[in-house]
């Protein structure tokens, strides 16, 4: 147990390191944006801020002080959750993000559930089955994994909103408005996950311990669920980086396509308006989520593979890679 705690400690430390790197990166972006940093913060060269605004930004960000002082105060602000002020929305970035977070979390969770359910079910049902079953499953996976969510969304809209007229095309209120965006976001992810999971399952199902379990008289489904699935989940968990990126990046696109509220829409309008504090705020937030998810993933490894509970912290790195 001591080792588990040490592993968690190490991971927290590594996570803190990543966040520190991310905050440093955001500082560098502000510093090295061409032109006056104050100008960049308020919206780039096309913006026409009043001298008072420029003065306020210069003061707030300490742009008149030496770079190391600026850097430290930047880190201090990030540490306190102060991500600056949006010059488009005239409110703190944290508040702007907070207002939009609920809708995005709803979408991302719904999509994650759909993607996971679909990929696990299809992989379990088709791994090491008859040739044509596997062929069909792998073809379907390839097709959806190769379909960008913005096109998939357009197809879904064409059929279900404008063709059959059974689901709303836009909006972010209620369950019905969630269905199409969630599937548009989930299906390409499910294709990728399903492919990885099925390959892992097919490999595991060849292992001697699976044959061994079969020679004990277990039913096929029992063998798959009790013995094989646990092993095959590892690569799925390892791809957490992909998960986070695909869900967050996908949310940006789906929210735009379905004109839903959310962090994605907020981000795109900020990019359009060159509202740098909001853009960096969202990116920092996503790095934070990534770190958090990775911590959860490390704990999940311990649940999936009890062998890891006994090796020292450094050996936890064995399970990385294959990103």
């Amino acid at each position: 147990m001591n080792r588990v705690l040490r592993l968690i400690g190490w991971r927290l430390l590594a996570g803190a390191g990543v966040l520190w790197g991310a905050a440093t990166l955001s500082f560098l972006v502000i510093q090295f944006t061409p032109g006056d940093p104050a100008q960049a913060i308020v919206g780039g060269e096309n913006a026409a801020p009043t001298p008072e605004v420029i003065a306020q930004v210069t003061r707030e960000y300490g742009l008149d002080r030496p770079w190391y002082e600026q850097y430290l105060s930047h880190l201090g602000r990030v540490l306190h959750g102060d991500l600056g002020t949006s010059y488009r929305l005239h409110e703190p970035v944290t508040q702007a993000i907070g207002e939009q977070a609920g809708a995005t979390v709803e979408l991302a969770l719904a999509a994650a559930v759909v993607a996971l359910t679909l990929s696990v079910a299809v992989a379990l049902a088709t791994a090491r089955r008859r040739r044509w079953v596997r062929g069909a499953a792998s073809g379907a996976e390839l097709l959806v994994a190769s379909t960008p969510s913005f096109w998939l969304g357009i197809l879904l809209l064409t059929v279900f909103s404008f063709g059959l007229r059974i689901l709303p095309a836009t909006g972010s209120h209620g369950f019905r408005s969630l269905i199409l965006p969630a599937f548009a976001l989930a299906l390409p992810i499910a294709g990728v996950l399903g492919h990885v999971l099925r390959e892992a399952l097919e490999e595991v199902l060849e292992e001697p311990f699976i044959v061994s379990a079969r020679t004990r008289g277990l039913a096929d489904l029992t063998v798959r669920l009790r013995h094989a699935l646990r092993h095959a989940l590892t690569p799925l968990v390892t791809m957490s980086g992909y998960w986070v990126g695909a869900l967050l990046g996908g949310a940006v696109i789906t929210e735009t396509l379905f004109t839903r509220q959310g962090i994605g829409r907020l981000l795109i309008s900020a990019v359009d308006a060159k509202d740098l504090p909001v853009v960096l705020g969202v990116v920092l937030l996503s790095a934070g989520i990534y770190v958090l998810v990775n911590l959860v993933v490390d704990l999940l490894y311990l649940v999936i593979d009890p062998r890891l509970r006994e090796v020292p912290a450094a050996a936890g790195r064995v399970v990385e890679g294959a990103a």
Binding site: R128, P208, F209, V211, T215, R216, G217, L218, R307, P312
Partner: protein, 533 residues
Amino acid sequence: MTAVLRVENLRIGFGAGTVVDGISFEVRRGECLALVGESGSGKSVTARTLVGLTGDGATVRADALTFDGRDLTRLRERDWRAIRGGRIGFVLQDALVSLDPLRRVGKEIDEVLAAHTPLSRRARAERIAELLAQVGVPEPGLRARQLPHELSGGLRQRALIATAIAGEPELIIADEPTTALDVTVQAQVLDLLAKLKSEDRSLLIISHDLAVVSRLADRVAVMKDGRIVEQGPVHQVLRAPAHDYTRSLLAAIPAEHTKGTRLSGTPAPPGERRPPGDVVIRVDAVTKSFRGPDGVARQAVRDVSFTLRAAETVGIVGESGSGKTTTARIALGLTEPDSGSVQVGGQAWSEVTGRDRRALRRSVQVVYQDPLASFDPRYTVAKVLDEALAVAAVPRERRRDRAVELLELVGLDARHLPRRPLQLSGGQRQRVAVARALAPRPAVIVCDEPVSALDVSVQAQVLDLLDDVQRRTGVAYLFISHDLGVVHHACDRVLVMKDGQVVEQGPVETVFTSPEHPYTRELIAAIPRLTAA
């Protein structure tokens, strides 16, 4: 005696290929039958077919395939489930991969009990402890809660056997049950299996090792290329083999009595064996520690000293983890010892660096257990040898001729030059590895388990080849092996290692006939011998 299992004219094919071609045998109540053969003989496929797990795309036909009077060919999947584990227990080789590495040992046994007995949860927990105790696992209550990797190889194999007997089956099929085990553990597991055989329990053992089988089986069936070439009582088959293949198989097993003889039936090259010459390697009191995964330093090699003379073969024998491979790497100059020294031809590894060290490397070459992994996957045989010759400063225009010479020395020829190692057989690959090792005209070749991955007939060829090469070139061998029979056959002197230390060393005959250290005695007593049970 009545037959529990009767197999008549069994044929198994995958696609267009036939892997088992009309075999017939029976296992009688209370007896042990052994199915023996080299890789590709079809013995494992046969075993799996007996529990209905032949594999995808297989066609199975038989005139008769009955277990306890029931026709196995007509079973549906759910009928099979009652038989597997319940009436036929199955033990696969290497429990580390045959037990689910993520589940506790007790759970694996529980699975069988839940499927085949009416026991309650609590009764099952008691039964698990009983079963583990029955197969000789100490502290069964504790062990049941452990994961397979927390158990030693022997205990794992015992736990696996416990899963096979949990359903009280009438027949136990064991596929290479002792192959991955050290020799002393192997002996214990064989004894356990022998005890399991009883009035109403029969055993079918699948093995490549005639010696292992002779210890256990009542009758033996020898398989080759999908057919049974000979079967009968063990003592009869071993003493008076009727078939040529059985004879050659028996002759190929290296052991005490084969020393100085040919194993593969090919004639020896002319000329006497050379007497040992000058000292080529002197290892003096080397010690090496490694930091284990738990952060604690462990001495892998402790105060090891020996010398090796030209045209001499010195064996290092020991079980896994005894430090024999680390000793080999230190001799090769690939691992730096913490203390002590290694001199090659009078020059110490620790005193040379850079170019001189690389030049010294040519004097000590190496042949690995897995030849395929030791070749760059992109290289052809020609390129492998060319590189070795280039390092040995053989001028470009001479290299091809020299490569062909080397190939001929190891029993291959110029036709093998354009091949890739992947396209060669296991024996051919090891021959190429020997050829490469000979390219820089070394004084010593370190052979690290050179025949462990090979079938016994191929092993015989490679051992004979090593002997030929030594007679022709006078090269010295440092021969690492876990197989005492091989060491006895091939070596002049031997070092017995245990826990990083040399517990005994001396001429092979002396060490094997009058071992002094208790561990050596234990090792030698555990050697499976070709004696009919």
